[in-house]
Amino acid sequence: MNSWFLSDALGDIRDSFLQEASEPPEKKKTSFGRWAVVAACLCLAAAVGLFLILADRQSSSGTPQGSISLAEHPSQSEYTVQPSSEGHHSQHPGDEAAVIRYAGMQYQIVLTSATTAPRDSWIEVGTVQSAAEGGQAPTADLQTNRAEYVGCRLYQDPANPEELWIEVDGHYEQFHALWETTYSEPWIWYHRLYRQKDVYCTLDVNTQSRKEALPQDAEELGRLRFAPDQRYPSEELETSFDLLDGKSVWYSASQDCLFVELPPGEDPYSDTPSRSSIWRFCPAEPEK
């Protein structure tokens, strides 16, 4: 049997490989550190910006109002931001960062009170429906780990899907997608004129998204292209999953889903590698 022969030959590989594989692995750093750095930089930039604004106001109208306290000697480089006691929903010392799940992805807060005006390019994508129990990470779309966000409206710029904005008491807080958590998840970008949001994904390849055959009304749209650097796809018929690169994609109007066929042996989730697999991709947004 071929595989036994191959396995036997593999058994005698160089010792250095075995020593390497026997060493305890260094676990991947979570994305928290990276986002913490981003958040810290943004906070610093915001603090400097606010300082400049308030310093300007101080020079024109006397004592500044608000939550910034300036050092006694403005020429010194250290200033502190005093959070206001009201309106800052993300101030939970010791708690996990605020997270919202949308379109199958986790978005983590990076900036509070980022802006008070919505941008023209933003599209309202939904309202936060519920909070996960006990502050746990959200598991369903439009869910959060913070009860105070329930009922708040969410916005997104279609050209910048890694950002999500939430309206809280008249200001907007910025969330950013946690890419680490979605690495290698299959996504497809497919634009349809009568929809505002254009992302299709398989939320659970192992169960929900597997199909026996293409639907009868499926029409071929073209071939998928792998988004560079495994990024979230942002162009027509791009995919985030490299195994789908070059594969034909079909659209079924009756099911409103995309379908991709993987030849035998190419479906990493298949229990029957000798058979081809059909993956079903559903719209990632909630039905309107």
Partner: protein, 185 residues
Amino acid sequence: MEDRQIVELFWQRNEAAIAETQKKYGSYCRSIAGNILSQDEDVKEVINDAYLGTWNAIPPHRPENLSTFLGKIVRRLAMKKLRYLTAEKRVSNEAAVSIEELESCIPSPLRAEAHLEKAELTESINRFLDTLKPEERRIFLRRYWFCDPIPSICSQYGFRQSKVKSMLLRTRKKLASWLRKEGFL
């Protein structure tokens, strides 16, 4: 005790060598054999045979790394046992699944298998492993050398199953392509 000292005991034909080996590498051997074989008695039998095999192999060998030397013997014996049990249809376990996965990445029969030198294939696999990134290589070997279950690899490396599965699939495809290029397929 240092590996060098244990090997010296083997060379002196001192039976304490077995006890020291068992003390130092008993759990390591159990983990390798236990991943491949389901039954405790099979695991014990394989490990005892491995100690005996090591006793017979040293001398003339003088391994620099006793753990890999011993590990290879344990794996070889455990695979032999698994092959026997699989042929008898007495078993279906994680190791058998991992062997099937290797089968799935070889689309055509190995060329002239009967005459093929296994050592040639091993050398080719060594060269292939050199081309992989360390993380890819470690995960591939955890699955196909140590026969670790995928959930166990996920917890060791902090990856999700989808990532590990797709990494393994890609590596198997690369291996198939490598073997084809090297003329084995």
